[in-house]
């Protein structure tokens, strides 16, 4: 199946709108970030979000792509 790539410049909102199942991934990272990412970083890019909250960008992107590629997740 062809999956839209998730790029570091995409905002949290863009990603969730395109791939609803990625919301769960962001929720998973809330604890590490110390904030609700869907509340505080909705309009920030993933790159900005990872930098701002000290998250590992490659791991976050990988988790998002994995979720995006699995519509049943």
């Amino acid at each position: 199946m062809q999956v839209d790539r998730i790029t570091p410049g995409m905002t949290v909102l863009e990603i969730i709108c395109r791939h609803r199942q990625t919301e769960e991934v962001f929720r998973k990272y809330d604890t590490a970030a110390g904030v609700c990412l869907c509340c505080q970083a909705l309009f920030d890019s993933v790159e900005e979000t990872s930098r701002k909250y000290g998250l590992a960008l490659p791991a976050l992107l990988a988790d998002l792509e994995r979720a995006a590629g699995d519509p049943n997740r």
Binding site: T11, C17, C36, C38, Q40, L42, D44, S45
Partner: protein, 201 residues
């Protein structure tokens, strides 16, 4: 003017924004009332509506927050299914991609840009958005001679968007003192929504 209403009480972020986006994407929404019950949803829905060209106000009644968006006159013309008002106020976007104005003498160029930023308020309410990219982001950080001017503009309702990639490039992310850190999609969207773009690059 027909108003659409969404009841997003009890919904956590990002759902109020996602639902608002879905409704707006259908087109023809000139005025919208979104009911929410928490501060984060109020902030995010307001921010989303502003980015989509709506003028936003919030009403509070008995613990319910109503975020009311009315499509700006300038944006109405750009949206399918809407009618352009005859006395539409245009939305002016100023794109600043430099920290000095013109070429020839850099010191003079910096003075001219300071003067330019200080004079922008004379555009009045038509000045809708300032976008700072490349060296223009240096204007938005601590120590900038126009920081107070930009903060004044922002407080008066002018949207100030600051390129996040550029801040990162110049290692200025932590020094930003005004405006909203943004990305290229936002910049392109605002350029499209504006009635007039004044580039200063």
């Amino acid at each position: 003017m027909a108003e659409k209403q969404l009841d997003c009480r009890g919904l956590a972020c990002p759902h109020p924004v996602v639902k608002t986006k879905e409704l707006i994407d259908q087109g023809g929404v000139e005025q919208i009332r979104v009911l929410v019950d928490n501060a984060a949803a109020r902030e995010n829905v307001s921010r989303f509506l502003k980015r989509s060209g709506y003028e936003v106000r919030v009403e509070e009644q008995a613990g319910t927050l109503a975020v009311i968006g009315r499509l700006g006159e300038g944006a109405a013309a750009a949206r399918p299914g809407t009618v352009c008002a005859p006395e539409a106020r245009q939305k002016v976007l100023v794109l600043i991609g430099t920290d000095r104005l013109g070429t020839g003498d850099d010191v003079l160029g910096q003075k001219l840009l300071i003067n330019f930023i200080g004079t922008l308020k004379e555009m009045g309410p038509e000045l809708w958005c300032l976008v700072l990219v490349n060296a223009g982001v240096k204007l938005a950080v601590a120590g900038s001679e126009v920081l107070a001017n930009l903060q004044e503009l922002e407080n008066s309702g002018v949207m100030v968007l600051v390129c996040g990639t550029c801040l990162h490039h110049f290692r200025l992310l932590e020094q930003k003192q005004v405006g909203e850190t943004t990305n290229m999609l936002d910049i392109v969207t605002h350029l499209q929504l504006a009635d007039k773009v004044i580039p200063l690059t």
